[in-house]
């Protein structure tokens, strides 16, 4: 019933109480897991094994955060994740800005075909790359290196970024570019002096999507970089668990450390992220 309510306006049912309940459901659903981890990260190990379990920490402590950094090279994991995500994002943007410009501005004979290829690649199962890339990286001695992850992550985000950027470029009036070219800019000059600055929000949106994709990826990172010094955060987190021991407060602290950087990005740029997601997801 609530389904139909929202689509109408001025209904008695879409009053304040319903809105409050709706907001409560949305916020609890969305934030409970992250909140639970945050609460757990302040608990002592002794409190964790109490029964019945406690929800709020009784004696809040920051020791777990200290331990998260000292038990495992958490800073190294963060650094690896950050550099791999940053470098693959930069590469993705460079390649997709060029491709998107061609798709948005030039009268390409095979535009439809190229778009189909991009969409097909956006649905490409990364799992199937696991075996050949494992073989190739192993032969090239690239297992346990940033390169082994940067290249596949670039391909992973290339289609979405290209689609987002194409739709942004299409929104920039051609006249601006023509004016620049009449004033003596070359096409590349016009691209980098007029189009790119104007589409900075779009480039930024695409960049966030690529960054989050790379920050989250697990399967290839797990398969290619098992050396503790080169693990990314999602893979490194596993090192905290012993065979039987599960130091949950410490793991939670490490998870919080891993969630915070991306959460900050999302909080600051939420509207851009949403617009990018919907443009990249629906545009065909």
């Amino acid at each position: 019933m609530s389904a139909t309510v929202s689509s109408g306006i001025g209904s008695a049912l879409s009053g304040k109480p319903l809105r409050l309940i709706a907001a409560f459901v949305l916020v609890v659903n969305g934030l409970f897991p992250a909140l639970w981890i945050l609460l757990t990260s302040f608990k002592t190990e002794a409190e964790l094994t109490q029964k019945p379990i406690t929800w709020l920490p009784h004696a809040a402590t920051l020791r777990n955060y200290v331990q998260a950094f000292s038990d495992q090279p958490l800073l190294t994991f963060l650094f690896n994740s950050f550099m791999v995500a940053l470098l693959s994002t930069a590469l993705t943007l460079l390649v997709s800005v060029l491709a998107a410009y061609a798709l948005a501005r030039l009268n390409l004979r095979f535009r439809g075909l190229i778009m189909s290829v991009i969409i097909a690649v956006s649905t490409f199962p990364l799992v199937t790359l696991l075996v050949p890339l494992f073989e190739i990286m192993r032969a090239l001695n690239l297992l346990n290196s940033w390169t082994a992850l940067i290249l596949p992550y670039t391909v992973l985000s290339l289609p979405v970024c290209t689609l987002v950027l194409t739709s942004f470029f299409e929104g920039i009036p051609r006249d601006l570019e023509n004016a620049a070219m009449i004033d003596g800019c070359t096409r590349f000059g016009a691209l980098f002096r007029v189009v790119v600055p104007l589409s900075a929000p779009g480039v930024f949106t695409a960049g966030i999507l690529a960054f989050v994709n790379a920050w989250d990826e697990f399967l290839l990172a797990l398969s290619f970089n098992s050396n503790p010094g080169l693990r990314t955060l999602p893979v490194g987190i596993q090192l905290y668990q012993g065979e039987f021991a599960f130091p949950w407060p410490v793991i939670s602290a490490a998870l919080v450390v891993g969630i915070v950087p991306v959460a900050i990005l999302i909080v600051i740029f939420q509207e851009r992220v949403v617009s990018g997601l919907t443009a990249g997801g629906i545009k065909g």
Binding site: L26, V131, A263
Partner: protein, 314 residues
Amino acid sequence: MTTSTLKERATRATARRPWLARWSDPDDTTLAVILLAPAAILLGVMIVYPVSRLIYTSFLDLSLTSGLPPRFAGLANFRQMPDDPVFWQATWNTVLITLITVPGSLLVGFALALLANLPFRMKWSVRLSLLIPWALPLSFAGLIFGWFFHSEYGVVNDVLNRIGLPGVIWFNSPRLAFAAICLAIIWKASSFMAMIILAGLQTIPRSLYEAADVDGAGRVRQFFEITLPLLKPTIVVALIFRTITALQTFDIPYMMTGGGPGTETATLAMYIHQNTVSFLDLGYGSALAVVMFGLSMCVTALYLRMIRGGGTAS
């Protein structure tokens, strides 16, 4: 004499101009080639070459542990599959996860989107509560939900106890473990669904509902005759994307159960990973990946037909 050098210069200049011009102020075709080349090279090196290599390797007997050189094995890797119970189990689990979590995340996502579409004053809080699950790495979600369903100290059993129900040992039973995995996947996937559907909802003009109000159409009828048909293209696209992602499910079951108990909750992606990285049996791993590739290509072909066909989806 001077005329000849001038002429010479002129011819030299025109001969040189196309090359220079091509780079500084190229025509459309040349420019397209230059602009699309990096993407094409990247896709060639990172997708076309690996996929052809994958298909080639799937016909080889290539096990890195045996130390033997690769040997052509024909269809042996593929023949091995029907007699491999883990293959059937993993494939069945993958299909089942897809069949459960794709409609599941659509329904939950739809409900969340309708709630989020209410006129809130603090839009950012709603947006964040959809964005944070999307941005949370899948592997983190798997780890966290594994902890939620922990038999002794998990919050799920705690809630069950508080409302007077006995706690359950989730990860000892294949069915319960599978259910827990599906719940985690639905939670993780539904927020993205909700964002896509919400964006779709916001493009529906209010005037349509106002007109329906005037015509005396009830809310239920408005939903089925305005909201749903107008959202159909959006939903179809979102569903196909979800299907392809669900077929590749790896992170959440890997983190929650590791495929256990036994191999009861293993997925095809997990089995490919195990054969490749743990057993180093690249031949069989490749053959399994070819099956996965085929499965997702079918869905992709369907998808392309729908969006290129245009009318079919709307």
